[in-house]
Amino acid sequence: MSVKVSMKVNGKPVAADLEARTLLVTFIREHLRLTGTHVGCDTAQCGACTVLMNGKAIKSCSIVAMQAEGADILTIEGVAKPDGTLHPMQAAFKENHGLQCGFCTPGMVMNALDFAKSHPDPTEEEVRDSLEGNLCRCTGYHNIVKSIMAGARAMAGKP
């Protein structure tokens, strides 16, 4: 059975006829060819697929595209400024070496963008708690934690 879905992705309206079971992440990766959103598991545990839906971080592997009907979706491709300048959270990951292989990174950044809105100056512990649903096998989290602390402060305009 195919269904019509339409939503906004990175500010652009998109629509498609999809099989009803199509996951949001499959729609983003395969249909829109926005391959920055990754798939690292099949049990909704790694967070590599995290996107913002109406401003909230969600795992795009855990809902079907239909559930995002009418929603505003932001993926990693839509985070930097139109001129290519990195968003402060992205810049903080670069400055703090918060990524190695880069595979978990889009999910980490998207999750951090949501978290930072309510945590302008987070503690180490708050950041670690916020990463409960995001796995990284490369960095030992040390520099991801530092990146998110710095990025959140930068977003809040703090030094």
Partner: protein
């Protein structure tokens, strides 16, 4: 002249693409006419295949083909080869049973591939795969390596399930030393099986071009040239020049992406049959059962000491689980990369190690971050710490008493350490970790109901793998050199091609630092290309912390040739004798004068050779080099872990982890720290959270992230790091490698800390809250 780049905390060149979603991993590659593969896998650990019913699947919508082992056999597709031949104690070669890409008549582990379905879409391939019915006759399975020898045979070629029994050292002399020892410390332990779990699942996408009569395979691999060599020469029998292997951005490897896997072979073969690109990407559940696992040793180890705590001899017996088939480098891990490291940082004069490697009905086991060296370090450092406790000696003191201090040092287990300074890292770590203040911290913890413990690990590893002739004499079936090429463009910018492969290590930055520094260029003017057999001249790839020591040296050798040719060109331009030209970071100068030419001017002259010694010198500036290392490198370091154990729950918290490493010269400290952080987290994972479990029928009980706990952010602390530097003596950069250290040293440090907190002799890994709680209640 530009500021020095070697040793600088340069931010990574690769980050922008990863941070903006512009990375290109294998699953991101979509080819015109893309078809998709889904594998049918065995649900049984050991079974005979009686019948495979394919009709329903073949009739399923949009299915292009269904293949089984019979199809591959008919097409004369060979089995997967093993890259290292181990010779048994009785002089016989190890047993090498066939490893067919799709099962032939029998399955030997859960997750083994039985059939593949290729369809227009992934969903259609998976739907059809579910329609395949396989009739199995289930056979008894064995998962415990210690029970393998008496169990029903898994392979005809190995009736007692033993692949080999291998030994190193002088057994009689070791036994003699034990007979005379004042004290013997003995431990029996299991080095727990680990599942690598790079966050990018394995993937392969192959295409065939009739026009070129050639294949292209995109694959998540740490060593595309090795993948190509093994696949063309041993499995598919294809001309190597007709196969291009591309390992694009790869999302972590940790060893698990070194090997040639059956799925890679099947999609490549199928691409030609169907004349369509065929893509397969593992689901995480498939990764758990089909990526090569790591470790899985059962060991009895004994250390003989004299009255003062001087080590006299070490005796180790290990049973190593190889799983159901011999993975690409499986055979050398529990032997060549394990027993040879048992001297550790110590002068132990006599060492004997015997390894029985067995087949079981489990996923194949191969190198995983550290590969043999974490297992060896665990043996040595748990024994040393336990001996100190038993003899009431200070654990740091007993180590100092036995440190190697004279270099080069020939160990009794074949390696020759070129340099090191173990006292320096131990001194530094003890200061940084404030070992002196531990007693007080322990008392404070007690008032909160917590047991505090402190543990050391002083590790050594052999990296920079490896001198090819030495490796060859030990059974390697390949060379272990590395290749590099420097292509200088007419305007003086540079593209570097390296056979090393970056899958998180940041080579695009560190290698560029080396080249830009030497040529006096801004780092933006140097690009690194890797991971494509059609671009890079050759490569043995990245594993064993070999990239900077071997791959980096190949680049330096090529740079030497560039500078040597540049000197000739500059001499001509400056009308001076070649011998009078001095070179320093981008400037060719006539000695004792201010006459000079920049690197850019020389490069331009090489490509616009109007004023150029054409009678003596070819135009152009492009050099390549192959480097075969003279020896291994020997990174070493000292770690101190401090834990608090909750008396009520048994939960262990790492409250401090301090690591001081000696990696020789460091190119980029920021990247090195990142490598150590990641290694430490994996080592802590082995010690605290990662317990791979099979039930007695061979079902993997820990087959998802909910059952198999790789560390989460809350499981690890902020790490305290520092380095000491004794440069490697036999490569020009003085580098040793840093990728595996953390995973090698951490497990012993953590377990030494927990056993200290609990006051027990030993505890199995992973020391989960349950394991610790049980131990506390048994002790009480």
């Amino acid at each position: 002249m530009t500021a020095p780049l070697i040793g600088a905390r340069v931010q990574r060149k690769e980050d922008y693409r990863f941070l903006t979603g512009a990375g290109m991993y294998t699953d991101d590659v979509a080819l015109p006419g893309q078809a998709y593969a889904a594998f049918v896998r065995s649900p049984h650990a050991h079974a005979r295949i009686k019948k495979i019913a394919l009709d329903q699947a073949k009739k399923s919508p949009a299915v292009l083909a269904v293949y089984t082992g019979a199809d591959l056999a008919a097409a004369k597709v060979g089995g997967l080869p093993c890259g290292w031949l181990i010779t048994d104690v009785n002089g016989q070669p190890m047993k090498e049973p066939p490893y067919p890409p799709l099962a032939q008549g029998k399955v030997r582990h859960v997750g083994e591939r039985v059939a593949v379905v290729i369809a227009e879409s992934l969903a259609q391939a998976r739907d059809a795969a579910e329609l395949i019915e396989v009739d199995y006759e289930v056979l008894p399975a064995v998962v415990d390596p210690v029970k393998a020898k008496g169990a029903p045979a898994i392979h005809e070629a190995a009736p007692d399930n033993a692949c080999y029994v291998w030994a190193l050292g002088d057994k009689a002399a070791v036994d003699g030393a034990f007979a005379k020892a004042a004290h013997v410390t003995k431990l029996d332990f299991v080095n727990n099986r680990l599942i690598p779990n790079a966050i990018e699942p394995r993937a392969a996408n192959a295409t065939y071009s009739r026009a070129e009569a050639g294949y292209t395979l995109y694959v998540a691999s740490q060593n595309p040239h090795v993948e190509r060599l093994l696949m063309t020469a041993f499995v598919l029998g294809l001309p190597e020049n007709k196969v291009r292997v591309v390992a694009p951005d790869v999302g972590g490897g940790f060893g698990s992406k070194i090997y040639l896997y059956p799925e890679d072979v099947v999609v490549t073969w199928a691409a030609k049959q169907l004349n369509r690109p065929v893509k397969w990407t593992a689901e995480r559940t498939e990764s758990f059962v089909s990526d090569a696992h790591g470790r899985d040793h059962v060991t009895t180890a004994e250390l003989a000491l004299d009255r003062d705590g001087k080590f006299l001899a070490l005796r180790v017996r290990t049973t190593a689980n190889l799983g159901a088939y011999l993975s690409t480098f499986a055979s050398c891990i529990p032997t060549i990369l394990y027993a040879t490291l048992l001297a550790g940082q110590y002068t132990t004069p006599l060492i004997y190690c015997e390894v029985t490697a067995v087949f079981t009905n489990t996923t194949p086991v191969d190198a995983y971050r550290g590969a043999g060296r974490p297992e060896a370090t665990y043996v040595v450092e748990r024994l040393v710490e336990t001996a100190a406790r038993e003899m009431k000696l200070d654990p740091a003191g007993i180590r100092r008493k036995n440190f190697i201090r004279q270099f080069p040092y020939q160990t009794p287990v074949a390696l020759c350490y070129d340099t090191g300074n173990y006292e320096a890292t131990l001194d530094a770590v003890m200061k940084m970790a404030d070992v002196a203040g531990f007693k007080q911290r322990k008392e404070e913890s007690l008032t909160k109901g917590k047991l505090r413990g402190l543990g050391y690990a002083c590790y050594i590893e052999a990296c920079g793998i490896a001198p090819s002739n030495v490796a060859g004499s030990l059974g390697a079936r390949a060379g272990l050199f590395e290749a590099g090429e420097i292509r200088v463009h007419p305007t003086g910018t540079v593209t570097v091609f390296t056979g090393s492969h970056s899958h998180g290590q940041g080579h695009e930055t560190t290698f560029a630092q080396v080249v830009a520094d030497r040529l006096g260029l801004p780092i933006e003017n140097v690009d690194i290309v890797h991971g494509d057999t059609s671009k890079v001249l050759f490569g043995m790839g990245t594993y064993g912390s070999r990239s900077i020591a071997v791959g980096g040296t190949a680049i330096v050798k090529a740079l030497d040739k560039i500078v040597a040719k540049g000197r000739k060109i500059a001499a001509h331009l400056l009308e001076a004798a070649e011998a009078d030209i001095e070179y320093d970071r981008g400037v060719f100068k006539v000695a004792g004068t201010d006459k000079q030419k920049t690197f850019g001017e020389v490069a331009f002259a090489a490509y616009v050779p109007h004023n150029y010694p054409l009678d003596k010198l070819e135009p152009g500036l492009n050099e390549n080099a192959f480097y075969d290392p003279a020896n291994f490198t020997f990174p070493a370091g000292s770690y101190v872990c401090e834990v608090e154990v909750d008396r009520d729950t048994g939960a262990t918290q790492i409250v401090a982890f301090t690591a001081v490493d000696d990696f020789g010269k460091i190119i980029n400290p920021m990247i090195v720290e990142g490598q150590v952080h990641g290694g430490l987290a994996q080592g802590i994972g082995q010690a605290l959270t990662e317990g791979c479990r099979y039930d007695s029928t061979g079902q993997l009980v820990t087959g998802s992230f909910s059952d198999y706990a790789i560390p989460r952010a809350g499981d690890v602390p902020l790490f305290k790091l520092d380095t000491r530097e004794t440069p490697c003596t036999h490569n020009p950069l003085g580098v040793k490698g840093c990728g595996e250290a953390g995973a090698i040293g951490a497990p012993a440090a953590v377990m030494n800390a927990i056993t200290d907190a609990l006051g027990v002799k030993d505890l199995p890994m992973p020391a989960t809250a349950q394991t610790v709680w049980r131990s506390m209640h048994k002790a009480a």
